[in-house]
Symmetry: C2
Subunit: 348 residues, 2 copies
């Protein structure tokens, strides 16, 4: 079995520490990847701290993976050694079932998460991208366009697709007024992607502290939600609102910003239930929906779209030894806009 | 000014009593209607008891109106004396605005409710269908097909369109699994209309007491929601759930009954907010939406559809002197399935 080195959580309350572990022997349909960069997603923190009550330690987090193919199995046709590739939030699913045919396998019960889950054999634990290599079936590996830098592409595999999928599903494009709530790792990708799709993007952020960035990345307007006038001024404005924040906000006030037939889409998961007043959705036929990453096909489509439009994440690159400090900064929203671990630092 | 006789509420806590009042002088684009029948909608009770905190007394309730045209203004082209017609929940709107063009004027702010509201002049109070005549602009009057009995057609104007519109909007039809929550005045119309559209209809009712009726009206299956096994057995089953009940139910359990991309549509308004867990909608891209009656064009389409499929409401006909007693029975769900007032009884 190939040996991988990385950083793992061994307990909900302890920092991540160096960890050496076995990857599975590659099968004929597997791709072996030298991981070069891994993004830090808020889900990594929720998982390793067992805030979702499903942690099985040790856990090597990381599902925003960018690297180079180092070996391919005999049945692999899509990739060759040296290819620039990415792996996202899942590494297997119930292939062949109805949902896969509809390209929405991300919503299938049989999904194998990239870490803290089981491989398709339902026995081997999966381990993620804060490590120097990974073995993944070729159907779950995606190509990263040549013109995109590998480091800033890593966050596309989760943050990018998390915004791209709902923007596409709810038809963001020319003539559509779209609000992105929250200007963080997810939100700033929504601004870039939505603007590239031709939609009219407004950022709704707690304050105006990141306004300059928001406008530079493609937003037409930028409003502070700590100013009550924002909710009066923008009432009935948006076709689509994508909410990336998991904090407690005044949900019904945001529903008031939708047009008739508008959709409010939740991609960040708040801890408490969202209290939806019937009178916030009945007069106006409004919807509140959830959305979760995207299918493999859609993720590749997103990467190709990013290649065409030269879109990557805004990142701060760190060495893996800084990961615990970076977690604390993520919790304070002190990053513009995504941490990416330089896996080469493992050798330091 | 023409004199009308009817029953009105004069106070939130008093029974409805006989009431004589003036209708406006007909304009050239008005239709004068001899009201023959008026359905009793739960909204009538909410309004006259000021449970929605907007009552301006006296109030003549009733927005499920069926009658015969007794006079038409000189500019009226769609109707002539003797025509069988209906009037629903609104009698005017901001004609010409964008929403009217999209045939969803029911969601416009300028809507003039059939009672407890103002006419288009924003001065004259509107009064509803528990009365012997009404004057309405022809654009807000609909034709009732000749083959449908006038009495059982009255509830189509609110209960019928309240279910027809979401069934159409969310594409109920062959191959679609649709659940109707609640088997009352609204729910039984959902069963009839959904089945006629070719959808596979399941009723989710508190108990099995109305099961025989449900299956007779077109449901394929009927489950009791007081049996917890219902929620296990039907998990992930429905493309669309239309919820007609305003009671406090276990909302997230119902969201669990949706398929991927399924929609839960609220047409009954519960008093308290609906607590939507993010994890009930994110994994499965599910939606919770509201829907409110339908446009005039869609209501006419619904009436024509009912004509083709011989659909009317199941009613219990009463004299207007029984209206207060009927209200008490509505509150106890003691009616199969809609009370309709025979306006001829006013003369008794």
């Amino acid at each position: 079995m190939p040996i991988a080195r990385g950083y793992a959580a061994t307990d909900a309350s302890k920092p991540l520490t160096p960890f050496t572990f076995e990857r599975r022997n590659p099968n004929p349909d597997d791709v072996v990847i030298d991981i070069k960069f891994a993004g830090i997603c808020h889900s990594d923190i929720h998982t390793v701290r067992n805030e979702w009550k499903n942690a099985v330690y040790p856990i090597v987090p990381g599902h925003e993976i960018a690297g180079i193919v180092s070996a391919v199995g005999s049945d692999v046709t899509k990739f060759k050694v040296g290819d620039r590739v990415g792996v996202g939030c899942f590494v297997d699913s119930c292939i062949g079932c109805a949902e896969r045919d509809l390209d929405r396998e991300q919503y299938m019960p049989g999904l194998a998460g990239t870490y803290n889950d089981f491989e398709a054999d339902r026995k081997t634990r999966t381990q993620g991208g804060y490590s120097d290599s990974i073995v993944v079936r070729e159907g779950y590996v995606m190509s990263i366009p040549d013109n995109l830098p590998l480091d800033a592409s890593a966050p596309l595999l989760c943050a990018g697709i998390t915004l791209y999928s709902p923007l596409r599903h709810w038809n963001a494009g020319p003539g559509k007024k779209v609000a992105i709530v929250g200007m963080g790792g997810l939100g700033h990708m929504g601004v870039k992607l939505g603007a590239a799709m031709g939609a009219d993007i407004t950022v709704l952020s707690q304050s105006l502290s990141k306004k300059e960035d928001g406008l530079k990345l493609g937003a037409k307007e930028y409003y502070a939600t700590n100013d009550p006038e924002t909710f009066t001024k923008l009432a009935g404005t948006f076709d689509l609102i994508i909410c990336t924040v998991s904090a407690e906000i005044d949900w019904n006030a945001y529903l008031g910003l939708l047009k008739v037939d508008g959709s409010f889409v939740v991609v960040g998961a708040p801890e408490n239930p969202i209290p939806v007043h019937a009178f916030s959705i009945i007069p106006g036929r409004k919807s509140i929906s959830g959305s979760m990453i995207g299918s493999i096909k859609e993720t590749q489509e997103m990467l190709d779209f990013c290649g065409e439009h030269n879109i990557v994440s805004e990142i701060e690159k760190i060495n893996i030894q800084q990961v615990n400090e970076a977690y604390e900064r993520v919790l304070k929203s002190d990053v513009r806009y995504r941490f990416v671990i330089d896996i080469a630092s493992l050798a330091a």
